[in-house]
Amino acid sequence: MTKVTYHSPTGSAVTLDVPPGVSIMQAAVKGGVDGILADCGGQRQCATCHVYVPEQYADQLPPMSEDEDDMLEITACERTERSRLSCQLVMNDDIDHIDVELPEHQR
């Protein structure tokens, strides 16, 4: 189980327990976290589950595929070095805790 803390741009935060094999997007959608839309349901089509991941967690995350990299071109908020699509961030037991920051908007 990984503790994922979702930080909204307004400063509020929600923490969810995310079982291994579940993505940060899936957990947010089921857990009712605002700010992640996931229009396409995790198919790397819509870029509406964009999150910013602080650098210190970068090594623990699944590597970025070419598709994900390409889709990040069209995020609604600016892409940075820390941008990821949360549908691609599948958790595993090696990750104890992770913080992600939500962008101002997804569309």
């Binding site: 959608v29 089921k30 229009d39 396409c40 089509q45 598709d67 390409d70 071109e73």
Partner: protein
């Protein structure tokens, strides 16, 4: 915040991608009035696209299908009514009557009634082994029966038909596809991609019967057993899957006297002939911002973007619907991504090498880029979405009309970045 003159109660009919999104976006836009989301189906509003893709392949569990958990609707104050569809609209009273007899008043009504599978004349109701795919229950039934089938016959070589054919093949079943036209996906993609997809599917052992119609379906003891084609050939089969396309569900709108012609007619603001009623998603026919004609689209992009346009309007930001359409289809190892809408006489230009399994087809109407089709090339697809939005841009037209114009994936990406930066 709601506009001072805005609606205080919104009723949404249909809880697919369009219906769910308009309800959810109304709240995101700050609307604090009443929202009623009517769903004729049981359970929670859920996604349809995976039903013929990951869900049918067994790669996605049933609990991943709903858009949001049950608590979401309660928290957001969305009155979600399951197993209760709308049966009548009274425009004079501004009420909707549901199947269970509820009468719900509205200031604004959003029709997101979707579409229903087309029924062909050769289909006999109630035959076992006969499938269509529109709901989770349909997908569950098909998955169950596919396990014990040795042969599946798919009627219709469009997206759904081919996705089902691939899933069946993955289950180890002998698969035949019958398509009336001389090529697959003829309505949705150009000849180049059509040809490539056909070859790829044949290479994994899917059998195709192109340019032939079905005359009758044979049955033994109430169960499908064969399909006879108008070529005279009869194919035995355990299951038949109908993938003949869908038709917009307009009965409710028609009964209410709204204008309907291959979909509920809406203007560029997605208002029907009654401005208190909007229509979005598969069920509506709207003016195409990039083509000077009316179209109807069956896609997640269209459903969600139209939902956002309506949610904004109902909260005081009236903007026309202008979005480049995009679609995707997962077929075996092929991820197809389409942007824009092609025409019958487009010039198709191939970029990349199909033998590599990754390429794109750019389709031009004269010098104007109108459509892009990509296979396992998300980068191209993303660039093409932007380029098509700017299809009329003189610089872009000039670029594509130069014989030495570089159209490598990198060049397309740079062009797209330049155009996005300008916006």
């Amino acid at each position: 915040m709601s506009a001072p003159t805005g609606p205080r109660s919104v009723v949404v009919v249909g809880a697919g991608h369009a219906g769910f999104t308009v309800a959810s976006e109304l709240r995101s836009e700050g609307y604090d009035g009443q929202i009623t989301l009517l769903d004729e189906h049981a359970g929670l509003p859920y996604q349809r696209p995976p039903l013929s893709k990951a869900y049918l392949n067994g790669d996605l569990a049933a609990d991943e299908l709903p858009f949001r958990g049950a608590a979401y609707y309660e928290r957001e104050g969305i009155d979600y009514l399951a197993e209760d569809g709308a049966v009548e609209i009274s425009r004079a009273d501004r009420t909707v009557t549901t199947a269970t007899g509820r009468v719900i008043g509205y200031d604004a009504l959003v029709l997101a009634t979707g579409a229903a599978p087309i029924r062909a004349p050769f289909v006999t109701e109630g035959l076992l082994g006969m499938h269509e795919l529109r709901t989770r229950a349909d997908a569950d039934r098909l998955t169950r029966e596919m396990r014990s089938a040795t042969r599946v016959l798919v009627i219709g070589g469009g997206f759904i038909g081919l996705e089902v054919a691939c899933a069946a093949r993955k289950h180890g079943v002998d698969v035949h596809v019958v398509e009336l036209r001389d090529r697959v996906m003829s309505r949705a993609v150009g000849r180049t991609l059509s040809r490539y997809a056909l070859d790829s599917h044949r290479a994994v052992g899917i059998h195709f019967h192109l340019g032939v119609g079905v005359t009758s379906i044979g049955a033994t003891r109430g169960r499908v057993s064969s399909v006879t084609l108008d070529s005279g050939e009869t194919l035995t089969t355990d299951l038949v899957v109908l993938g003949l396309g869908i038709t917009p569900r307009t009965e409710l709108a028609e009964k209410a006297g709204l204008d309907v012609d291959n979909g509920i007619l809406v203007n560029e603001y997605l208002e029907t002939s009654d401005p208190a009623i909007s229509a979005i998603g598969d069920c509506c026919s709207f003016p195409y911002a990039f083509g000077g004609r009316r179209i109807r689209l069956e896609s997640v992009q269209n459903a969600t973007d139209q939902a956002r346009t309506v949610a904004k309007r109902l909260t005081g930001r009236r903007e026309p619907y202008v979005a480049v359409p995009w679609f995707w289809s997962d077929q075996g190892g092929m991820k197809l991504q389409m942007a824009g809408i092609g025409g019958m006489d487009d010039r198709e230009v191939l970029h990349g090498d199909p033998a590599s399994g990754r390429f794109s087809v750019l389709r031009f109407d004269g010098d104007r880029l109108v459509c892009g089709e990509s296979v396992n090339s998300a980068g191209d697809h993303v660039s093409l979405r932007t380029l098509i939005a700017h299809g009329a841009d003189p610089e872009l037209i000039d670029h594509f009309s130069r014989p030495d114009g570089d159209s490598s994936p990198t060049a397309l990406k740079q062009l797209a970045r330049m155009l996005r930066g300008r916006a």
